[in-house]
């Protein structure tokens, strides 16, 4: 019995860790685009899609930190924020939180059960998605989209964790953006 309790404790710890540590990052690119022709960018108008969670809607802390992280990562790629005139690129971003359910995910992934008879267990969670769009300002055409997805259960009430997670997500997303000049990354 004591062993079963121990297994459950470990399972719960791994569940929390598993939800918190897996970040899925990917991107699409307009094939054939020569990114070395772009140098400057500016912020495009916000979209009208809801975030799916009122805690994120118009949250200045989140927006400021997200934009700051993007500016830092863009500078590392050789792009600079346009000070005047028409920028080469426009950046849009969007954040969304989507409710998710998982059934026996850890059971199947890790080969153990939460209880002795391995009954079906449903886990409700929330996945946060950050999307960054890069638009060619001359053609108004989307030429790159990157996104990162991660569980948000442990970050919405913790600003420090939210900052860290935003920094990680933006850095990993923009790693996949082609650089402004050859050899910049």
């Amino acid at each position: 019995m004591r062993r079963l309790a121990c297994v459950c404790l470990v399972a719960a710890a791994v569940t929390a860790a598993g939800c918190a540590t897996t970040m899925n990052v990917s991107s699409y690119v307009e094939r054939g685009t020569d990114f070395t022709q772009f140098r400057t960018y500016d912020w495009g108008p916000a979209d009208a899609l809801p975030t799916g969670d009122p805690r994120l809607d118009d949250d200045p802390f989140f927006l400021d930190h997200f934009e700051g992280a993007i500016e830092t990562a863009m500078a590392g790629k050789g792009y600079r924020l346009a000070e005047r005139g028409m920028p080469d690129l426009l950046i849009h971003y969007h954040a969304a939180i989507t409710p998710r359910i998982d059934i026996n995910r850890l059971d199947s992934e890790r080969g153990y059960c939460y209880d002795g008879d391995c009954r079906v267990r449903t886990i409700e969670s929330e996945t946060g998605t950050l999307v960054i769009d890069v638009v060619d300002s001359r053609t108004n055409k989307l030429i790159w989209r990157g996104w990162a997805q991660h569980g948000v259960v442990d970050i919405l009430n913790n600003r420090d964790r939210m900052e860290t997670r935003i920094d990680q997500a933006v850095a990993r997303m923009l790693e996949e953006l082609p650089s402004a000049q050859l050899g910049a990354n």
Partner: protein
């Protein structure tokens, strides 16, 4: 062949059929009865909707939208239906994509004993819908759709494109026959 020998063979076929069914795209269509599809020669695109798809990665995703439109145009051209300027077409084509999370209760697996675990699981189901609207009457005359698991599909641009090609081809293959043999 003795009945005893037939059992493993039948089990093999059943297994193959069930595996194919699980991996397959579900395709369906409705048609407005009495509408003469053979008169359809031209189409135009309806303005894109900006509705949430259920997956933020697909919302306003121009890569997906451009690839989908190119695939539809190619398939319709193959059936003799040409894209024309707005206001000149026989039909207006709308599309919509949506993603919903589904629960697979593994009922078939459990019933036929084809799984070791036989436990429910969840997956993302993507649905692509194509509508043809009579430009003259603004009435929906045909709707086709494809639905399948898109687990892991959106993560890869190339995989997304392959799935769009397959879905569009299968959906438009269900257009009524007179449309496919229409002479221009």
């Amino acid at each position: 062949m003795t009945p005893r020998r037939l059992i493993p063979l039948a089990a093999l076929f059943l297994t193959a059929a069930l595996v194919a069914a699980c991996a397959a795209i579900n395709i369906g269509s409705f048609v407005e009865r009495g509408f003469d599809m053979s008169v359809v020669r031209t189409f135009e695109w309806a303005p894109a909707d900006h509705l949430a798809t259920g997956d933020p990665r697909l919302d306003n995703n121009e890569f997906f939208q451009r690839y989908l439109k190119a695939a539809v145009e190619r398939e319709l051209m193959n059936r003799g239906i040409e894209r024309v300027e707005a206001g000149m077409a026989d039909v207006v084509v709308h599309y919509h994509a949506s993603v919903t999370q589904r629960v697979d209760t593994a009922g078939a697996d459990e019933k036929y004993g084809l799984c070791e675990d036989c436990r429910p699981s969840v997956f993302d189901a993507g649905t692509l819908t194509l509508d043809l609207v009579d430009a003259g009457t603004s009435r929906l005359v045909w709707r086709g759709w494809a639905e399948r698991s898109i687990q892991g599909v959106l993560e890869s641009q190339s995989q997304m494109e392959r799935d769009v090609d397959a879905a569009v081809s299968l959906i438009l293959a269900r257009l009524p026959a007179p449309l496919r043999i229409a002479k221009r």
